[in-house]
Structure formats: C-alpha cells, structure tokens
C-alpha cells in the first residue's frame, strides 16, 4: 500500500498541565474504517479534533499524505467532520446546509446545487431539500450532517459519536448504511465512539484508548479475542480475569497457578512470560462451557450457580467459584436445556486452554 494516508507520530495534547493525549502512534491507510474507542475522558475526541485542526498538538506530528498538518488551520484542510451535536446551521435550509462546503470553495450556484442534490438523493433526503433543519427527525438530520460533510468528496471523514442522539433501532440501520457507504466511496472513515457494538459492527480496525494512551490496535476480532492489556480485557466484551503466577511453559501453552487451581492458556505470540512472573489469565464468557462434570482435558473450575441474566437468545450465568470471585458464562439458551439451573446448583465451568490468553500484569 506504500505510505499510509494518515500518520500520528507521538502526538500529545496538554491543556495547561493536564495531559489529554499522551504520545499516540497511529497509522491509517486510505479507504480504512478506523474506530477510536474508549470511555469518556480517554482522549479520543481530542485526537479527532487534532485531526480536524481544532486543537494543535503539544508534541509529536500529524501527517496527511506525508504533509505535516500540525499548524494547518481547520479551514485550510479537507477533513470534514460529523459532529456529536450535528452542528447543522439552523437558519439554513437542508440544501443550503449541504451546499455550504462547496460555497466556501467558490463553486457556482448551479454546480453547487447539482452536487448537493446528488448527495441528498444518495442519502434519501432529496424530498426535504427546502425544509428547515428543525423540521426534520433525528435520523433525517443525521443524513443531512453526513451529506454536508461528504459533499466536498474528501479523502477522510471524521465522525465524533454521530449516532449518540439516535434511537436504538435507527442506530443499527444507520450502521450498516454507513459501512456500505464507506465501502462504496472508498473514503477513510475515522469514527470516535464509546460504544463497542458500533465500533465492532463497522470498523476494519479498532483503536482502544484509555487515559490518553493507546491500549491496543487491531481488528474487532483480535481486540475481542486477545486483549493486550487488562484495561482492554475489562472494557471489551465480557471477560473473566483471573490473577495468578506462571508455573511452567509447554507446547505453546502457559501453565498458571491461580487461587482456583492450575489453569492453562495460550502463550502470547511475541512475549512469552518467564516462569514465576505474576500474570492474569483471561477467558471470554462465551468461551466457557457449563456441565455437571469436569471435561476430560482443558481447564475446569467448579462453582455454584448464583445468578442468571436472560436477554433473548443469549443467557449470562454467574458462577461463584470461591474467594468472592464470580465467573461469567455466556451461552445460547438451547445449550442449557438439559441442565438444572436452580440457584445453588453445583456446576463445572470448563474451556479449552487455547481459548484463554495471558496478560503480562498481575
């Protein structure tokens, strides 16, 4: 692919003495859908605002197509943004809103209207061209905001939690539409959200941030299956984290001595921990199988059933495994048909060693 479209090289941002972003390295290729995810205050929005030129990095460098962007004013770059508040111009019609970017670039009225109408049609809002923004529903406004940002046909589109104001049923619909649009256009999308399902549903790669630092970058599957840090393991999915100490290494597996017995996990590909080191063993709740007896091989933990959460097809069960620790188990309802699920039932949770990973932190 050659040079990435966008490079963040050790980018930091301080507000006074307070760091919002601390030394981020990130490469984004042309045509990629990247989601930056993290809890509020993790620095994801600040990062996005630096890409738009609304904040100047305190340190490091941002390069777009090899060009240093740090000092480029927001109006001199082509990095349109879809805002959390949408920030549509309330005194303009839908068409005028969408035309705005073209007008600023000095296009003639006829050409502006032709191009803007093209986008209104593409996003199915052409009928509202002369309406005021306040006369539109949330979903329609969302589309106007998208059309307004895309009308200049930029290389990269920045999105700052654009769906936080939408109803839940609209969000799912909009997600697939947005993903489709991105694939058709081949534009790079940089999407900031705190919502895991949004990020996982659309992004090619997910960047997980916490306290101004990147915790992990990877595909949704990688991030979900092999969390790199304790933060990611807690933030993403429904993971069980069991502290322990490395006892032995064998055949690409790590044996971990935990308070609940000896458990085995897949050894990390790059950084195999030495014997005696404190680590955490992580197993996703949906990898754990419940039964009456321990499986012949693999990891097994006996426990007492203490709770059940039923959400449609998926059930979450809570197993007390002693030492005030709960093990979460997620499974399909029909997998449990032949089990007695009364509170207090003794059950055994088991999973295959290669389904659990090791974190290099105690």
């Amino acid at each position: 692919m050659g040079e990435p479209l966008l490079i963040l090289d050790g980018v930091s941002k301080l507000y006074g003495d307070v760091p919002a972003v601390r030394g981020i390295d990130l490469r984004i290729d042309a045509g990629e859908f990247v989601a930056i995810m993290g809890p509020s205050g993790c620095g994801k929005t600040t990062t996005l605002r630096m890409l738009a030129g609304l904040e100047t990095p305190s340190d490091g460098e941002i390069r777009l197509r090899g060009r240093r962007m740090n000092e480029v004013k927001p109006w001199d770059r082509d990095t349109p943004m879809v805002w959390q508040s949408l920030a549509l111009f309330p005194f303009m019609s839908v068409l005028k809103n969408v035309e705005f970017g073209l007008k600023m670039r000095g296009l003639g009225a006829a050409e502006r209207e032709r191009r803007a109408m093209g986008w209104l049609e593409r996003l199915h809002i052409a009928a509202y061209r002369d309406r005021q923004v306040s006369q539109l529903s949330g979903g329609e406004r969302q589309r106007v905001a998208l059309a307004r940002a895309l009308v200049t046909e930029p290389e990269i589109l920045l999105l700052d939690e654009p769906m936080s104001a939408l109803d839940a049923h609209l969000v799912v619909h909009m997600q697939s539409e947005l993903k489709q649009l991105q694939e058709q256009l081949g534009i790079t999308f940089c999407y900031v959200t705190h919502n895991q399902s949004e990020a996982f549903a659309m992004a090619d790669r997910v960047v997980i941030m916490s306290q101004g630092r990147v915790q992990q970058i990877g595909s949704p599957r990688e991030v979900y299956r092999t969390p790199a840090t304790r933060f990611v393991a807690e933030f993403v999915g429904a993971n069980n984290i069991l502290p322990g100490r490395v006892r032995a290494l064998s055949d690409g597996l790590v044996e971990v001595e935990t308070a609940f017995g000896c458990l085995r996990a897949k050894a990390p590909a790059d950084d195999t921990p030495e014997v005696g080191r404190d680590v955490s063993l992580v197993v996703s709740a949906d990898r754990v199988v419940l039964g009456r007896e321990a499986a012949a091989e693999g990891n097994s933990l006996p426990g007492t059933l203490i709770g059940e959460e039923f959400v449609g097809a998926v059930v979450t069960l809570y197993l007390d495994i002693g030492r005030e620790t709960e093990l979460r188990v997620q499974t399909q309802q029909h997998n449990l048909d032949d089990l007695d699920l009364a509170r207090g039932t003794r059950l055994v949770a088991s999973w295959r060693p290669e389904h659990s990973v090791i974190l290099p932190e105690g």
């Binding site: 738009a52 030129g53 609304l54 004013k73 927001p74 109006w75 082509d78 990095t79 349109p80 943004m81 805002w83 959390q84 508040s85 920030a87 549509l88 111009f89 309330p90 005194f91 303009m92 705005f100 970017g101 007008k103 600023m104 670039r105 005021q132 923004v133 306040s134 006369q135 307004r148 940002a149 200049t152």
Partner: protein
C-alpha cells in the same frame, strides 16, 4: 371551581389596575393633545389637531425632531456594531481580566444619567467636543452599547458551541464564518438591538440636555417648552415621541420572537 374563577378575575383586575396606573399620565397627555381647549380641563373642548399643526409649525420643534432622528439613527447603528463586537469577543475569547471587561462594558446604564451627563459635559468641554450634534451621538452610543451587547450576548449563548467550528471545518475562514454563520444566527438580536437602542436614544433627555448645546433634541425641546410656557403643543409632541418609542420597543420584541418557534421545535 368558582374560587378559581374569582382568583383569576381578581388577578386580571389587578393587572388592569397596574397598567392603568402606568399608562394614565401618558393617556391623559394623549387625550388632551387632541383637545381644542387651551388649558387641560374637564369637560373636553372638542376634537382638534391644531396643537399638532402648531407643533410642526414651530421651527425649533421641527429642528429638534430632525436632530433626534439623526442622533437616534446614528447612535443606534454605531452602538449595535460595537455591542456586537463586544458580545462576540466575550463569546469567543477567554482572556485575563475578562470579568472586568464585562463589568465595564455593562456599566453605563447603572450610573445615574444626571451624573453621566454632567461627567460627559465636563470631559467633552475639556477636549473641545461639546455642543455639537455628533457630541450627542457620541454620548448616546456610550449609553446604548450595553443594551445592544446584552441582547446579542443572550442570542450568542443560545448558539450550539460547535456551530462556528463546523463552519471552519467546512472551509470557511474566520471572517467568512462571521458573515455566513454568526451574523445570520444573531440577526434577530441585532435587529432587536437596533430598535431598542434607537428607542433609548430617542427618549433620552438628561444626557442630551447637558451636552447638546444649541443642537437640541426633541426631548430637550419639550423640557425647554415646559419651562417657558404651558402649551398643549407639549402634549402633541409628547404623544408623538411616546408613539415612536413604543413602536421601536415593540419592533425590538417582535424581532426577537420571529425565530422562537423554530428554535423550540429544534
């Protein structure tokens, strides 16, 4: 409930009474401006517009009226421009001493006008600017800026804080954003500020009395007329001034109301 209805009725009566008290003197003056009699008395001497004719025939009144219009138009325009700039500075920037800046900007109307007028006279006489029509304009601008600023500042506070950045983001420079986004958004408040400051200037006599010299405005002329003779002309002039001021204040109100329904829907 009967009790409810009684309370509603009593409240309505109370409001009517208050309004009557407020407007009675003006109403009286208005009624007697059409009285054919020389001296205001009951019974009424019959309908006549002769005092209006007399007022307009008086060259001093005509000149005062012209002066007032010139002063009101220019001072309201200048005050609104400066008021907008002051409000926008407050909205956009954070800087050391901002609270002091705001306090100073909003100060003039809190000073008794007699003191303000006297101070202005002393100062302007020192620098040799007193007694001209532009002197009145200058003083009224100072007095009117806070009104304009307060109105425009209120409107700016209702603006989505991302709106300006959104315009930059779409390629509009700072001046272009001011023209394409900030001005259209604040336009109702600007219009309202224009009308309100015009009304303030049109009515104002204390400062004008001190600094106008021979370039009397209409309110100053009324004062002079009252000191010399009691003529029903005063009623006529007073009624005209009142009507113009009320119209301007109402226009100021309407300008602010126009966009309200849209905002609520959004």
């Amino acid at each position: 409930m009967i009790l409810d209805r009684t309370i509603t009725l009593a409240l309505r009566f109370y409001v009517a009474l208050v309004l009557l008290l407020v407007f009675a003197p003006i109403l009286t003056s208005f009624v007697y401006s059409f009285d054919a009699n020389r001296y205001a008395a009951i019974p009424w001497g019959g309908f006549s517009t002769k005092w209006y004719a007399a007022a307009f025939a008086d060259p001093d009144v005509a000149k005062g009226f012209r002066n007032t219009v010139i002063v009101a138009l220019s001072s309201s325009t200048i005050a609104t421009v400066i008021g907008f700039a002051t409000a926008y500075t407050d909205y956009r920037y954070r800087f050391f001493g901002k609270n002091l800046y705001l306090a100073l900007a909003l100060l003039p109307p809190t000073i008794p006008v007699i003191i303000l007028g006297l101070a202005m006279l002393v100062f302007l006489a020192q620098v040799g600017l007193s007694g001209e029509l532009y002197t009145v304009v200058f003083c009224h601008v100072v007095y009117c800026i806070p009104f304009a600023m307060a109105l425009i500042r209120l409107r700016l506070s209702q603006m989505d804080p991302d709106l300006e950045a959104a315009a930059w983001n779409l390629g509009a420079g700072q001046w272009r954003t001011l023209r394409e986004v900030i001005l259209p958004f604040t336009f109702p408040a600007i219009l309202s500020a224009l009308f309100l400051t015009m009304a303030v200037s049109f009515d104002e006599y204390a400062i004008a009395w001190f600094v106008s010299g021979f370039n009397e405005t209409l309110p100053v002329r009324i004062l002079v007329l009252l000191q010399r003779e009691v003529s029903p002309k005063v009623n006529a002039i007073g009624s005209i001034v009142f009507m113009i001021s009320m119209t301007l204040v109402m226009l100021a109100q309407i300008a602010l109301m126009v966009r309200k329904p849209r905002r609520q829907a959004g």
